[in-house]
């Protein structure tokens, strides 16, 4: 079948044109480098330094040194918190898979797709505080979930998910998956806008079923965007859930929903111990680089054309 992408074009790697290309590339990336360097990497480097001190902002920081990391990493509470982060990763495939299916259906123009495309994105516009309150009310013992269960005759399955540690984390993960639907769906729709309709048409003429087209044509061409969504979803799970956790569970019960990000806030930021906040933040930073960048490099080895 002629559905597999053409081999990548060989462009000259040497010569005048190549040099012009490299120069243009450098020139066009300078604004981003300056912005990110000055406003993100500068404070990151400062935070690395502060992470080894008792910095609180106004009094002279006392140097602790790299042993601060050893102490933090041997703390059983930190272990428990890291376990939560690891468990939250299990939600990522669903947070990508569900929007992928929705995007594929919308892209196929199922009945009412214009309406659904609008409505599915709406909750993305709502503040985390509201989402947290709604989720809290939904999962509560006297909340919606149990009313719905009772309505369909499952009243005996009375849940109180937010009252026990791992169930609360599951409830948080469900809310997180729900909250990612809008964002990831439009990322995949963007990706599908790059698909060549003639390819899909050809597949249809070849007699492929809808499912076959999805798995054999659409999905391979969307790899880049799935990769992108993966990185963004991991980043969201690890560093964008603070407000949701704050309102929905407060990190509890116990340490059940305290992720490292929330721990950065509670043990460091809210206590005014910015050194400790930086310490846990850098640990999280390293973990996310391993998970996120590692994934980007991994894909590269497969298609030989990664980042």
């Amino acid at each position: 079948m002629s559905l597999i992408a053409d081999p990548p074009v060989r462009r000259p790697r040497h010569g005048r044109l190549a040099r012009k290309r490299r120069l243009a590339g450098l020139l066009l990336s300078v604004p981003a480098i300056l912005l990110v360097g000055a406003l993100l990497w500068a404070p990151i480097v400062q935070a690395i330094r502060y992470s080894m001190t008792t910095w609180n902002g106004y009094s002279a920081p006392v140097w602790i040194g790299p042993s601060a990391y050893a102490t933090a990493l041997s703390d059983p509470i930190v272990h428990r918190v890291l376990e939560n982060n690891a468990l939250l990763l299990l939600a990522v495939p669903l947070a990508i898979g569900i929007p992928l299916i929705i995007a594929a259906l919308l892209h196929e123009h199922v009945r009412g797709w214009r309406f659904f495309r609008s409505v599915y994105f709406l909750p993305t516009a709502i503040s985390w505080v509201v989402i947290g309150m709604v989720a809290l009310e939904f999962f509560a013992a006297n909340g919606m979930l149990n009313h719905l269960l009772a309505d369909v005759g499952l009243g005996s399955v009375h849940t109180d998910m937010l009252a026990s540690e791992y169930n609360a984390l599951a409830a948080l993960a469900i809310t997180f998956i729900w909250s990612m639907i809008g964002t990831n769906t439009i990322i995949f729709l963007t990706g599908m806008a790059t698909l060549d309709p003639t390819l899909l048409e050809a597949a249809r003429v070849d007699g492929l079923s809808r499912r076959q087209i999805f798995f054999r044509v659409t999905l391979p061409l969307l790899t880049r965007f799935i990769q992108f969504a993966f990185v963004i979803t991991v980043i969201s799970a690890f560093s964008a859930l603070f407000s949701l956790i704050f309102v929905m569970t407060g990190g509890g019960p116990g340490l059940g929903t305290t992720t490292l990000e929330f721990f950065v806030y509670q043990a460091g930021f809210a206590q005014g111990q910015f050194g400790i906040g930086a310490l846990y933040g850098i640990i999280l930073f390293v973990i996310m680089i391993i998970v996120g960048i590692g994934q980007l490099r991994l894909i590269r080895s497969q298609d030989g054309e990664g980042w």
Partner: protein, 296 residues
């Protein structure tokens, strides 16, 4: 598909046709119809779930605190309190200024850099790209105080400038990443053909790549708009109190001991509307078929 589902009775009662092929044809069509109905039902259910928070906000905004506590009765108290306690309009204007300025910067740096990292690679560009993407992986709470100290030194915290710059920097890695991902889908021949025609790479970017990337630009705009609009921490630290964003303004409704939920719900509803409008405007660019020279 609509006609198929509109005539189920006729299809089921076509007695005169030969038995075997028709029943196969019928059952295939029947199966397709069942699938379509099932999909439609699930889509409707998801839509209800997605819409529920709006009902929750609307319902609870028309209460006073006692009515909220007891979840019975409605009144205009929440809305009255919102407009009494907060300069809502001024804060909406502030939010808009900050969002528009920051997104303008984000789009400029992200489209250019995204194109460079995807199509105009140079020695080390892969590493630079990874460093830019990595910069969004540190939790904001860990770097915001050093950031604040740095910007305060340059007196950038007494007007919009500081917050705009920080938002732009926070959004740039995501946007650059998405733009680069998108530009990688443009075929190299297209770019090289334009260059052969005598355009410089910079002009090729402006004339060819940029117009093609409207779907990605729309996505960046929508997602960053929401991100910045709903952010609390940066607006809180970097904006002067007179020029607060609506999100910071609403946070004032919760105190050390209690929270005025009805006005908070009313405010959240008001605050969600601009983002929704932005999405509804931009979603028409998220269509299939913008494929001139796309796909490799």
């Amino acid at each position: 598909m609509a006609t198929a589902s509109a005539r189920p009775a006729e299809a089921a009662s076509a007695p005169s046709a030969p038995a075997t092929p028709v029943s196969r044809w019928q059952s295939a069509r029947f199966r397709r119809r069942v699938t379509a109905t099932a999909i439609f039902t699930i889509m409707v259910l998801i839509a209800i779930v997605m819409f529920y928070p709006f009902w929750y906000m609307g319902d609870n905004s028309f209460r006073n605190q006692a009515q909220f506590d007891r979840q019975s009765g409605h009144s205009l108290a929440g809305w009255k309190q919102l407009f009494n306690d907060l300069p809502v309009v001024h804060q909406l204007v502030s939010s808009t200024i900050v969002c528009v300025a920051a997104i303008a910067i984000i789009l400029v740096v992200a489209t250019t850099a995204g194109f460079a990292f995807a199509k105009l690679r140079y020695r080390g560009s892969g590493l630079v790209f990874l460093l830019i993407v990595a910069a969004m992986m540190v939790p904001l709470q860990s770097i915001i105080i050093p950031e604040y100290v740095n910007l305060a030194k340059f007196s950038l915290t007494s007007n919009y400038a500081g917050a705009v710059l920080v938002y732009a920097a926070l959004g740039a890695p995501f946007a650059t990443f998405l733009m680069a991902t998108f530009y990688r889908g443009i075929s190299d021949e297209l770019i090289e053909a334009a260059v052969m025609d005598g355009l410089s790479y910079e002009r090729t970017f402006l004339r060819i790549a940029l117009p093609l990337s409207l779907p990605a630009i729309a996505t960046v705009t929508v997602l960053q708009f929401i991100q910045i609009w709903d952010d609390l921490l940066v607006g809180y630290l970097f904006l002067p109190t007179g020029d607060r964003t609506i999100t910071v303004g609403l946070a004032v409704l919760s105190s050390g001991r209690t929270t005025g939920i009805p006005p908070l719900m009313a405010g959240s509803l008001v605050s969600a509307i601009p983002a929704i409008i932005v999405y509804l405007i931009f979603q028409r660019y998220l269509i299939r078929g913008l494929t001139l020279g796309m796909g490799k």
